[in-house]
């Protein structure tokens, strides 16, 4: 493979970010290149003469380095199968493999650039919506055409996936931005003892402050120190101090991007290097995020080689790359002139084109002795070249001139990078005097220093940053001392007043008089207007044939031209918010950083509204692209396991999620994949085992709440529908809870172990909500009760079946299990298998059964003892699926499955559990009103004769939630249904409006199935078996 040597490096001391002693080789689009350690992929490619990095979004035009600030789509590449990475953010490493996101060399879709007339902004959703539903088809095609990167197509093993994490952080002060302003503020605050975090998005500190700028008094031969000093002297000193600062006082995070600022200074900071999302809470925040350079709009302003002056400067000074041998600088401010001197320092003579009609005295003086060609009153018309810039056509004093060049650097103004501040409550306003936005107010605890606050001159920046940091530090230290005082004593009135006074937001914004003239923006960098662009595009084309096929881009990310904004305004979308939606202006990668101001100027011109009145579109987080993996991070999904879970796993149980628990669904034989039919057979075997002999199920997941105190029964009486005051010690009673609207909320059993001790059970999913409700009402009623959540304090096993008593008899100590002394719905305390146990004789599955609750830590030992002891009776565990079938046979409902958020007790056939005599329980009055109005639906049992395919495959059976139909209208729905192996028929529960003999259920295939309505319960209607 041909190796391309680096050829565009200059041989000077500039290039402070790279280590020329350490060459690295890498590949881009399959070709091998060489860079240096410290290089970014973008700088290494630029140094190797690569000018085209990508193709544009819509027209597939070639694009190269433009802002070099990770804020435009031109440099998005795919690196080692990770798409959408900014090449300037990818640190070069040996063997790196990068690709462009679309085909670079020959891209057939380039033809779209010639069809642009038919593809105005939003053409797809204005054109492809008819006939109805066709958009689904087109959408797929457009999404494929969009070409915004592909995820890796090969499967990666889970353990080989990179780890992403999140962390919380707490600081008194967070300084965002590590340029001169940020470093000054952070160092000053840390020096005063404030716990400070300095966040810088680049991998190194320094920001845009590379070296002292060349001033007018400089010797024509150029100061040699310019080439040797990589950073400004004051910044170098500060960095030295910063390195010496104790880590407790100052933490520096380079490569960390603050992507959002939320209420109370809560910052989201993405640290890509560590793959970590930091959630940082700061008491105060100083934003020194700098400013974005703005582009100019003229024909073909997207040609590779056209770039912002700041990008050129970064390449030359930071990476030692010569961006061009024949540069043209379009400069409307001092920064462009300084760039010209930078070129001169490398022995390259640039051409300066200045739109200002008369020379700006300080700028003119700065280049006076350097014999640089400079023209004023220049209007750029067009960048020329095929695939890369080869020249600029400009108009000077009414005549057109051509300037050959290999790069065109634009310096027409800046916009503050104030996204974070705006999210925090700061206000930006367009100032006509400065032709740009400026901050006019800040949110609470927020401060702005440096270019974001309108200051560019290093001395002013440093002075203001220092003053701000001192004021903020004073405020934070006084708050800290006040907090320490209030910990030890009650705050006095004076201190409270002082605290209030201090709580007043500090105003640390610089006065507008301090704004630098040097940073003044050119009043209208949309140059086509200056050369007479008409409002009507077709009219304009007729007048200027040379315009054909040329584009004047306002937003490079979205391929938006001036004409698109014209269309928007013409169609009535004339406020900035509407223009944004209509044209997608500012909705690309740059989020309008480079396009919003120019868009505003164009819309202002078209609508004849002042820019300040038009306003700007909202700035929402994230301010920079975040990966989904970063947002997802390490996921926390709490899972609860019973102490017997290990035993279930050893028994090859198939598990299922129930609320926050993992429960055994059924116990298949040793590992072999089971089909649906085989699984059903297993469940039916478990059911038969319980009905004919004995089985055991882990019921640890049921909620348990202990209520102690002399008012315990009164408390339960008010909370639940039935009556509990007269409940005897040693007895259990059904619990039904309704909410304030009288709707069924939960159920369980109330066990009275002592006059002042109730043990309330809840459903598996309802324990936390019921406990919260109990705490709430305890506080409301102020009864003499104490409530504790014992859900995780007890493990539970239900031993059920005709032989349950025989199994348990050998394990119980001090408990007489006979039906006379321990009847149905009785509760006892004693010892089972050596453990303290609470025994509840309840019958959810409709057989003789004992629920044994032992301390959580002894659950596994109990399970082992039962399994061992039960062998004689061939006792086997059964899972949730069998339990659900058993309870259905018995006609017991499951809250949440057979009820919903509107079900009243009387509708769910639970009217018997509602006491009419009690003066009060939660939901009583609404329930009474509903009952008086009349119950409109009832839960009924239905049955269908079982056929062979029902038994074996459950085919052609209704499912839960299938509709019940009556005379063509919806009459209700099925809530539970299953084939009962005990009864050999299909049984189920359904809601219907009124009792009939039969009901018609609509199957999934649309057919109606007739079922007979039968009385509940289906099995053992007299309840003899559970009362054995």
């Amino acid at each position: 493979m041909k190796r391309i040597e680096t050829s565009r490096r200059h041989d000077t001391r500039w290039g402070c970010w790279i280590d020329r002693r350490k060459p690295l080789s890498f590949r881009f689009e399959g070709r091998r290149y060489t860079g240096f350690e410290g290089d970014s992929l973008a700088s290494a490619l630029a140094a190797s003469g690569v000018m085209v990095f990508s193709r544009s979004f819509k027209y597939r035009r070639k694009r190269g380095i433009f802002s070099l600030n990770a804020s435009d789509a031109n440099t998005l590449v795919n690196v080692d199968d990770i798409p959408n990475l900014f090449a300037e953010r990818v640190l070069l490493r040996e063997g790196l493999k990068a690709h462009a996101q679309q085909r670079l060399r020959f891209n057939p879709l380039f033809v779209l650039t010639f069809l642009s007339r038919f593809l105005p902004a939003g053409f797809y959703y204005r054109t492809f919506f008819r006939p109805r539903g066709v958009w689904k088809l087109w959408e797929r095609i457009f999404r494929k055409l969009a070409g915004v990167g592909l995820l890796p197509q090969t499967k990666v093993a889970h353990h080989a996936l990179p780890r992403f994490d999140k962390a919380y952080g707490f600081f008194e002060l967070v300084v965002v931005g590590g340029g001169l302003a940020g470093v000054t503020a952070a160092t000053t605050a840390a020096r005063l003892g404030v716990r400070t975090l300095l966040v810088e998005r680049e991998p190194r500190l320094g920001g845009a402050s590379f070296a002292k700028d060349i001033d007018a008094n400089m010797d024509a031969n150029l100061d040699a120190s310019l080439l040797q000093a990589p950073l400004q002297a004051p910044l170098q000193e500060l960095l030295q101090e910063l390195l010496q600062a104790p880590p407790d006082a100052l933490t520096v995070m380079t490569g960390g991007e603050a992507t959002g600022l939320f209420a109370d200074r809560f910052l989201a900071v993405v640290e890509a290097k560590k793959r970590r999302l930091h959630k940082i809470r700061a008491q105060s925040c100083i934003v020194a995020s700098g400013a974005f350079e703005l582009p100019a709009v003229f024909r073909n302003n997207d040609l590779p080689g056209v770039m912002l002056a700041s990008a050129a400067r970064k390449l030359m000074r930071g990476y030692g790359v010569v961006v061009g041998q024949k540069p043209v600088i379009f400069a409307a401010n001092s920064f462009g002139y300084q760039l010209a001197l930078d070129f001169l320092a490398l022995g390259i003579k640039p051409i300066l084109l200045d739109p200002r009609p008369v020379p700006h005295i300080p700028d003119a003086l700065s280049i006076r002795d350097h014999h640089i060609v400079c023209a004023n009153g220049v209007i750029p018309l067009e960048a020329l070249g095929k695939g890369r810039i080869q020249g600029v056509k400009a108009m000077i004093a009414g005549s057109q001139h051509f300037f050959p060049c290999d790069c065109l650097c634009l310096a027409v103004g800046f916009a503050p990078a104030a996204e974070l501040l705006v999210q925090g409550g700061a206000e930006l306003r367009y100032l006509e005097t400065h032709h740009c936005q400026r901050l006019i107010s800040l949110g609470e605890g927020l401060h702005a220093v440096g270019a974001v606050a309108g200051l560019f001159e290093p001395a002013k920046v440093q002075r203001h940053a220092e003053q701000t940091a001192k004021a903020v530090a004073r405020e934070l230290l006084s708050l800290r001392s006040l907090r320490q005082k209030t910990k030890t004593k009650t705050r006095t009135k004076t201190e409270t007043r002082a605290a209030r006074h201090r709580a007043k937001p500090l105003n640390t914004l610089p006065a507008p008089t301090l704004f630098d003239d040097a940073a003044q923006n050119w009043h209208d960098p949309v140059f086509p207007y200056l050369r007479g662009l008409k409002r009507n595009r077709s009219e304009n084309n007729e007048k200027d044939e040379s315009h054909k096929g040329k584009k004047e881009f306002v937003d490079l990310d979205e391929d938006l031209q001036i004409s698109d904004l014209h269309d928007s305004v013409r169609d009535g979308y004339d406020s900035m918010q509407l223009v944004k939606r209509y044209t997608t202006l500012g909705m690309g990668v740059s989020q309008g950083r480079h396009s919003n101001i120019n868009g505003l100027r164009i819309v202002s011109r078209l609508t004849k509204e002042e820019p300040a009145r038009l306003g700007l579109s909202s700035v929402r987080p994230p301010t920079a692209p975040e990966s989904f993996s970063m947002l997802a991070g390490r996921s926390f999904q709490p899972l609860r396991l019973s102490p017997m879970h290990q035993r279930h796993e050893q028994a090859f149980a198939k598990t299922m999620v129930a609320g926050s628990w993992l429960r055994p669904a059924y116990y298949p034989p040793p590992p072999q994949p089971l089909g649906e039919t085989e699984a059903r057979t297993i469940v039916e075997q478990e059911v038969r085992s319980v009905r004919t002999s004995v089985g055991m199920i882990d019921v640890t997941t049921l909620g348990g709440i202990d209520v102690y105190g002399e008012d315990a029964a009164e408390f339960a009486d008010r909370l639940y529908c039935w009556s509990y005051k007269k409940q005897l010690v040693g007895r259990a009673r059904y619990l039904l809870m309704t909410d304030e609207a009288g709707v069924v909320a939960d159920d369980g059993v109330c066990c009275r172990f002592a006059p002042d001790h109730l043990y309330l059970t809840t459903t598996t999913g309802g324990s936390d909500a019921v406990y919260r409700a109990l705490l709430f009402w305890k506080a409301q009623w102020n009864l003499k009760v104490e409530v504790t959540n014992s859900t995780a304090a007890f493990a539970g096993v239900n031993v059920a079946g005709p032989l349950a008593r025989e199994v348990l008899q050998g394990l119980c100590e001090g408990i007489d299990l006979s039906g006379e002394s321990f009847p149905y719905m009785g509760v006892r305390e004693g010892k089972v298998a050596g453990s303290y146990a609470r025994l509840l004789r309840v019958g959810f599955v409709g057989e003789l059964g004992y629920e044994i609750h032992v301390p959580f830590s002894e659950g596994e030992a109990l399970w082992d003892a039962l399994m061992q002891h039960g062998k004689r009776w061939q006792m086997k565990p059964f899972g949730v699926e069998a339990q659900r079938l058993l309870r259905l046979e018995k006609g017991h409902i499951i809250i949440g499955q057979d009820t919903d958020g509107l079900t009243l007790p009387h509708e769910a056939a639970l009217g018997w559990a509602v006491s009419r005599k009690k003066p009060f329980f939660i939901g009583k009055r609404p329930l009474e009103i509903q009952v008086e109005r009349g119950i409109t639906k009832r839960l009924i049992g239905f049955s269908i004769p079982a056929r062979r395919h029902h038994r074996r495959h459950h085919k052609n059976l209704p499912h839960e939630c299938n509709l019940v139909m009556h005379e063509g209208a919806i009459d209700g729905r099925v809530t539970s249904i299953a084939y009962s192996p005990t009864l050999d028929r299909v049984i189920g529960l359904a809601y219907v409006s009124q009792s009939r003999k039969t009901l018609a259920i609509k199957l999934d295939n649309g057919k109606l199935l007739q079922a007979s309505i039968v009385p509940l319960p289906f099995y053992d209607p007299e309840g003899e078996r559970q009362k054995l």
Partner: protein, 280 residues
């Protein structure tokens, strides 16, 4: 294995068994891991590389008692225990046990780390049984409902910062302070060990007691082990933890703070989730 034969088992026994832990009988039919062979193999390596380990230890078999009710404070005094003055604070008892105040009328007692397990809170249990309803004070089954983990080491608060939104750093979260918070989306009690009068445990090394719902303990254990990967954390037994706390002090831990011992070898891994590039 002792754990398999003990009646009372830590919910974390399966994970500890998988690490090759040897369970030894402890107190009333309980098994406890006193030392882990894997820990000893790794800790020597860490010492050679000047890395202070971050230790995770299961203390669930140790005793803990909950008392709730208006008469709780007087019951504690009658049982020769000193209640913490403020809510979310803890105080050390004579025998090294901790009394943590969870609410105005709710207290949690944690046995001493070096407890032998036989005589923990005996007077309290007796008094509680005797005067339950008369004194308006009732037991809370924290022994079973809460799993007890200890996390020790200079980087403990950094690790917790990856899963807990409370600022638990040195100098911010006081010794003996309690946070009733969410840890890895799980309701948890995070207790910073108070300054000990006992000479066997150094208070200079951050020690956190984490108490969470027993049923979620395996989940939290896995979360902590996963997060500990970054901080070179180790699982240890109770005696390993006690030895570590007795011998480690900040001056012996080179990675604690580079500013305090600038001449020492820098830590191989960053000490904080925030420590970034310190060079421009």
């Amino acid at each position: 294995m002792a754990a398999l034969f003990a009646r009372r088992r830590s919910p974390l026994a399966p994970r500890l068994s998988a690490l090759g832990a040897a369970f030894v009988p402890f107190a009333d039919d309980v098994a406890l891991v006193e030392t882990l062979p894997a820990y000893h193999r790794e800790v020597g390596k860490r010492h050679r590389e000047h890395i202070t380990p971050l230790l995770l230890c299961d203390l669930s078999p140790l005793a803990r008692v909950g008392v709730k009710g208006r008469g709780g404070e007087s019951l504690l005094r009658r049982s020769a225990l000193v209640p913490a003055k403020e809510v979310n604070e803890s105080v050390e008892q004579k025998d090294g046990a901790l009394c943590v105040r969870l609410a105005g009328n709710e207290v949690l007692l944690l046995s001493a780390l070096d407890s032998q397990g036989t005589h923990d809170f005996v007077p309290l249990r007796k008094n509680l049984a005797a005067s339950r309803s008369k004194q308006q004070v009732f037991p809370v089954a924290y022994q079973d409902s809460l799993c007890w983990l200890a996390l020790a080491g200079d980087r403990a608060s950094d690790l917790l910062a990856t899963m807990c939104a409370v600022d638990l750093r040195d100098g911010v979260f006081a010794h003996g302070g309690l946070a009733q918070t969410s840890l890895a989306r799980l309701s948890a009690l995070v207790l910073r060990d108070p300054v000990r009068r006992s000479s066997t445990i150094s208070s200079d090394v951050p020690l956190f007691h984490l108490l969470v719902d027993s049923a979620s303990s395996l989940y939290l254990w896995d979360c902590l082990r996963d997060a500990m990967g970054e901080y070179e954390g180790l699982v240890c037994g109770r005696q390993d933890l006690l030895r570590f706390l007795a011998t480690t002090s900040p001056s012996r831990s080179p990675s604690r703070s580079p500013s305090r011992s600038p001449s020492r070898t820098p830590p191989r891994h960053s000490a904080s989730p925030f420590s970034g590039t310190r060079a421009p």
